[in-house]
Amino acid sequence: MRYPGASRVYRLFLRLLPERFRDEEAGNIEAILADMGARRAFEGKRTGLGFWLRAWADVISCAFRERASTRRAMRRGRFHSRETGSVASILARAPGDVRRAIRGLVREPGFAAIAIATLAIGIGANTAIFSAVNGVLLRPLPYEDPDNLVAIFTRFTPESGYDFAKYPVGSPEYFDYRSQNRAMEEVAAVSTETIAITAGTGEPEQVMGALVSPSMFSVLRASPLLGRTLQPSDGGAEPASVVVLGYGLWQRRFGGDPDVVGRTIALGFSVQSPAATAEVVGVMPPDFAFPRRSTELWAPLLLDPARTWRGGHWFWMIGRLAAGMDLEQSQAEMEALMATWAIEYPDHHVGHDLWMLPLLDETVGDVRPALLFLLGAAGSSSNC
């Protein structure tokens, strides 16, 4: 299990259950939970944080419901004729209820401690998760005019013989988009690659790199901390052996040494060649990471205009909308462009459509539901 402490926390939450219930059933509950974990492992599913949050919530809500129903049953038995309902009678009862609650907490300090700890954890989790939601969902991308940035993919509708909702782009398409569309100020090709690095200090490691058209930096309007970013002459059919380092990688392997710019280092590209050397031309500032939070190295992607076969798709694109263009307008124009492909190259482009969305949605799309779920879970656990 990926969360070794999680079952300890689970057992802690079991202590919230009324004593008799716990004594009689804790073993059964744990056995069922263990079976669930084993079954998930057998099915190849992870027992991740989501699983544990639901398991904890199950125990906590069960404890509260069980205690509430026990209290109801006791009250029905003891105070059968007691009137309920009117505001006055509720208010009249309130001091007694508070006293009873305090007496109950004093009598069961363990329950009180765990209830308070639950509240504390809930409030802490809320704060932590709200910061994450704030950072990822509410704060826009850390680039200039982020609203004008779009992510460009394609999709194959069943008409094409395939059915892919979101599919990469191919190199002839990239050149067509670049030369024939006016909706975008500029577009860039982006693909990710794991790259082995042995240079600098420390064990050789695999870092998350990106092979990109040099225009990626200008589309994002990102400037380097040191040296330069990739420039147009670095890309093309024979890309230059140059790399730009991310801030973290530069600190970690090169001790933040500014002289690393201009040095040639050894790299293992898993696709382009088994081992290569590349000149470090620049270092990016700490807040820059694209397309993923973990990307730490950028090198030019091979893009050969002479390569005209339209059947290969292996990267995606980003673009910056031209001044005065909105997403719908540019979408219409790009779709018109693709419609001409379907006529010109029916073998590859019939049933091949555009899939374009704001870059923020693409970047946070995968984590948005998870984050909102966590926020909801933390909210409900601290509000019990």
Binding site: L17, F21, N28, I29, I32, M36, R54, D58, V59, C62
Partner: protein, 114 residues
């Protein structure tokens, strides 16, 4: 017989036990499979529901198969006569409601939302 329907979890637990006695984990899996993965009853909630059903006299605790090693022996549950009757009454009630709903939607029972 009262017209108030059973809680959905109770109904599905009774249904799972209608073929014979099962332990908690097997009940949970049977309910999950019967509902095509929709109704996942988490352990504490399941055990609490089983206690409620036991107190209501609809199920009882029974011994599991004796070939289970003692340290792995689990609590098994079985329908009581009363539980079986209640499940039958529930089936009639639900069938009556379902047929009313089917009639209200052209009697096809497969009315689709547009």
């Amino acid at each position: 017989m009262s017209e108030r329907p059973l809680k959905m979890q109770w109904f599905h637990i009774l249904l799972a036990l209608s073929d014979g006695s099962l332990h908690g984990s097997a009940i949970q899996r049977a309910v999950l499979e019967r509902t095509d993965g929709v109704l996942q009853i988490w352990p504490a909630t399941l055990v609490r529901a089983l206690r409620g059903l036991d107190e209501a006299g609809l199920i009882e605790r029974v011994h599991g198969p004796s070939e289970e090693p003692p340290d792995l022996r689990r609590q098994y549950y079985a329908l009581t006569e009363r539980g079986r009757d209640r499940l039958g009454a529930e089936a009639e009630l639900l069938a009556r409601w379902a047929s009313a709903a089917a009639q209200a939607t052209d009697g096809s029972g497969t009315a689709t939302a547009r």
